[in-house]
């Protein structure tokens, strides 16, 4: 083994349709080290990793692996090269047993048949290392999100890769699991494995990385060894994000709080949630912080009539309780905007058609006719207002991801929503559109909407919200406002370890 770096990425570029995701990406991963890639979501981290995993083909640039120039044409090719990848949305099979998920496409054979015994024997060590005490014969869907994430990591480790690539692996992990994972990664490093670690949480990354590359708008803007990083550079990386957010009109929130319309939630429970109480007033942006599985998304789904509540009282500004269906929610001017792809757009229909979704599709008053001409007028107005760079007749799918998200927001703006529920509204879109969408959210609040914003990106919450409610395992564990709002405090609240995880596990076992 030579000491030359294991991986070179040189001038890699990639665009999807109209969006440039990677422009000029360079990266060098030394052998036996942990190299971190940090950047806002939407900066191009995930695409870079998909390029290395053989899922996305770059338009330009070279990749040199282990001293040779390689083209990674498929995930299988990556595997053969000894590149193990843990993606953000791990391609796992929830209905299949844990064991089957650990050995996808690489099941050990015994006389031509899959040998379950050998799978068990091989996986035992890895699972113990990761601190996973789960029954490998249960379906994966029985596991908590954090455990599922660890299973995805275990799967990659079982292939004995020489280069392990992790895309934001601890987004779903609680603090204890996170520390455990870091310990495992350090152990692997000591055994000579190289790692590429992408994350948008700077603090954690600094704790584990040997080298660091900052990525912005598809370019590497800074690449250094961890110990060479000066305090001012560290601070600069931390501040990159702050300029994204519009300044809130600070005068408003404290004024005449009782007179403004508000939404009151008292003792709400159902699904994962239990005993949630809070009030949100018009004009403020209330953040909901929580890891995957914390219930923050469920809360939004319940307020939108998508999930049933088990107990508790909710009072909307129009005086009624929870909507029973999404249709009822839409008709009562309650809207949910989700950043999950596929939740909001009809890509093969025109922008004009999409913008009529709520006005024509959801409402049942007004004319029974659908007038394409009126739809075009509506679209022209919104395109102008939100600066969507296209024409009303164009299919919505031809827009960039940011443009598509603007269309989704615009169709709700058409009805003048009273309550705006946002579930990671700026996920996976370019920085420019992000900025515009943040400004829009601010505007909606200023014009008298009640805005609830859930995001896994803590900087988004701290940058945009007036106060933040922290959720952990279905409970509201704290409220932070003003000066106390920083990512560290929130993280402490939402990811603190507690006996809960073991308790949950034993309960699951007793239920089995």
């Amino acid at each position: 083994m030579s000491d030359s770096p294991i991986l070179f990425v040189r001038t890699v570029a990639k665009r999807f349709g109209g969006t440039v995701v990677l422009e000029d990406m360079n990266l060098t991963v030394e052998r036996g080290s942990i190299h971190a890639v940090v950047g806002e979501s939407g900066a191009g981290k995930s695409t870079l990793i998909k390029v290395l995993a053989g899922i996305v083909r770059p338009d330009r640039g070279t990749i040199e692996y282990d001293g040779k120039k390689v083209t990674i044409g498929s995930p299988d090719a990556a595997r053969k090269q000894g590149i193990g990848v843990v993606l953000q949305q791990a391609g796992l099979f929830p209905e299949r047993p844990v064991l089957a998920n650990l050995f996808v496409n690489g099941e050990p054979l015994h006389n031509g048949l899959i040998s379950r015994r050998e799978m068990e024997a091989r996986s035992r060590d890895v699972l113990r290392q990761l601190g996973l005490a789960v029954d490998v014969h249960r379906p994966l869907s029985d596991l908590a999100p954090g455990e599922r994430q660890l299973i995805a990591i275990a799967r990659a480790l079982l292939e004995n890769p020489r280069l392990l690539i992790l895309d934001d692996p601890n987004s779903a992990l609680d603090r204890r699991q996170s520390e455990r994972l870091f310990a495992v990664l350090r152990g692997l490093k000591a055994r000579g494995m190289s790692m590429l670690y992408a994350s948008n949480r700077l603090e954690e990354t600094l704790a584990i990385a040997d080298q660091l590359t900052v990525i912005r708008n598809g370019r590497d803007v800074l690449s250094k060894a961890r110990q060479d990083l000066t305090a001012s550079e560290e601070a600069m990386i931390g501040q990159l994000r702050q300029s994204l957010f519009p300044l809130p009109p600070r005068a408003l929130p404290t004024l005449a709080g009782t007179l403004r319309p508000q939404i009151t939630v008292a003792g709400l429970g159902g699904g994962r949630l239990d005993g949630i109480c809070f009030t949100a007033r018009a004009g403020e942006i209330v953040g909901l912080a929580g890891l995957a599985g914390s219930g923050a998304s469920n809360l939004l789904a319940m307020l939108f009539g998508q999930q049933k509540a088990r107990e508790g009282k909710v009072r909307f500004p129009d005086g009624d309780g929870l909507p029973r269906t999404r249709t009822e929610a839409a008709r009562r001017n309650i809207c949910l905007i989700s950043g999950e792809r596929g939740n909001g757009l009809m890509p093969d229909k025109s922008i004009a058609f999409n913008l009529s979704n709520v006005v024509v599709g959801a409402r049942d008053w007004g004319t029974r006719w659908y007038s394409p001409r009126m739809a075009l007028g509506r679209a022209a107005r919104q395109i102008e207002a939100l600066r969507i760079r296209s024409a009303p007749e164009m299919p919505a799918g031809s827009l960039s991801a940011g443009g598509q998200q603007k269309v989704i927001i615009a169709k709700w703006l058409e009805i003048g929503p009273q309550v705006v529920l946002l579930d990671e509204p700026a996920r996976g879109i370019d920085i420019g559109s992000k900025q515009e969408i943040y400004a829009l959210i601010r505007q909606m609040a200023a014009s008298g909407c009640i805005v609830l914003l859930h995001s896994k990106e803590l900087s988004e919450l701290t940058g945009l919200c007036d106060r933040i409610l922290a959720f952990r395992q279905g409970r509201l564990v704290g409220e932070i406002a003003d000066a106390a709002m920083d990512a560290g405090t929130i993280l402490k609240l939402i990811a603190a370890d507690e006996p809960g995880s073991e308790h949950r596990q034993s309960r699951r076992e007793s239920a089995a």
Binding site: N357, E384, S390
Partner: protein, 344 residues
């Protein structure tokens, strides 16, 4: 206005103005194909262009054509109804038996249509409460309905007493001595339903659900109700066609209309409706069914063994599917620059 002009064009974003007027309607292909077919046939066999022959063709196309109208709505909603042919038959048998039992023919006809609609309702309720695709549900109900019409009709050809039936004289009568009544109903409904699909709230919802059911639900569109209503519409269309069949032909054989369900799908596909949902053309489907009938009648005209007609229908379906797919792939290539689904 100037704001958008001065905005720096984002790399590759779609900021060019689309060429207005260049986009041809979806039905163009089908219209051209039909005209070409009729032209060639008329040139080879001038007797084909005989008005009586053309009107007869329209009459034959009317029954599966009515099913195709309903099927366009179902396909535009990204669903498939397999049971339509069976509904057609059961409605025909039930109407005939009611008339035989001495009920008023018009009332019996109405009952036939209502029966079709309620069978559609059963399909719809099953599909929405079990959250299954209509394809799955109707593959079961198709057998059940088929079985029911065998039980009710005792597996025999039914000939309703035509002596008094004002319905039958009306239906088998031909306006101006040549145009079959069924054909008139078909054309009128095709035009009306085309407008319903493209210019009403209901039609808008059908297309929205078909384009992306999840996005439709998130936008507050009552997807379950749309699904239900569309399947009811499909059933009512099949029922209406069944009633007309009983009235116009005067005899209902056990095998009648068994292929109509698939024929309706073929017609819709030829007419530019795609299986992936989101849009549909009722007029296209009407032209599509005419194309099928023209080809079938051409085969008899040229003395091809009638046993081949089933094969020909199938081949036509595959051809329509392949063309639809190729056009779509080609368009995607142009829009996405060769990248099919970037983030998936």
């Amino acid at each position: 206005m100037t704001k958008t002009d001065t905005a720096p064009p984002l790399a590759g974003s779609a900021n060019r103005q689309p060429g207005r007027g260049i986009r041809l309607p979806d039905e163009t292909g089908a219209v051209v194909a039909l005209a070409a077919l009729v032209g060639i046939l008329g040139w080879l066999r001038p007797s084909f262009l005989d008005p009586a022959n053309l009107w007869a063709l329209l009459g034959q196309a009317a029954l599966p054509g009515l099913l195709a109208i309903g099927m366009v709505f179902v396909l535009a909603m990204r669903e498939i109804d397999l049971s339509a042919g069976a509904v057609f038959h059961l409605a025909a048998v039930a109407t005939a038996l009611l008339i035989e039992a001495g009920f008023d023919p018009w009332l019996s006809a109405l009952a036939g249509i209502v029966l079709g609609a309620s069978l559609g309702l059963v399909n719809g309720v099953l599909a929405t409460t079990l959250r299954l695709p209509a394809l799955v549900v109707t593959s079961g109900t198709w057998w059940m309905i088929q079985g029911l019409s065998l039980v009710v009709g005792k597996g025999q050809t039914i000939t309703p007493p035509g002596a008094d039936g004002s319905l039958f004289t009306t239906l088998s009568a031909k306006a101006f001595a040549v145009v079959p009544a069924a054909g008139i109903v078909f054309i009128a409904l095709a035009l009306a339903m085309h407008i319903v699909l493209h210019r009403t709230r209901f039609g808008y919802r059908v297309q929205a659900v078909g384009s992306n059911p999840r996005a439709a639900a998130y936008a507050g569109i009552p997807t379950a109700r749309v699904r239900l209503l569309t399947l009811v519409l499909m059933g009512a269309m099949a029922g209406l066609a069944g009633v007309i069949h009983g009235g116009a032909d005067g005899a209902i054989a056990p095998g009648d209309g068994s292929a109509f369900g698939l024929l309706a799908i073929t017609a819709a596909l030829i007419g530019g409706t795609s299986l992936s949902g989101g849009h549909g053309s009722v007029i296209g489907a009407a032209i599509g069914i005419l194309i099928v009938q023209v080809i079938l009648s051409a085969m008899t005209l040229f003395g091809v063994d009638s046993a081949w007609s089933t094969f020909a229908t199938g081949a036509l379906t595959v051809l329509a599917l392949a063309l639809d797919r190729l056009v779509r792939l080609w368009r995607n290539r142009r829009v996405d620059g060769g990248q099919d689904h970037p983030f998936d």
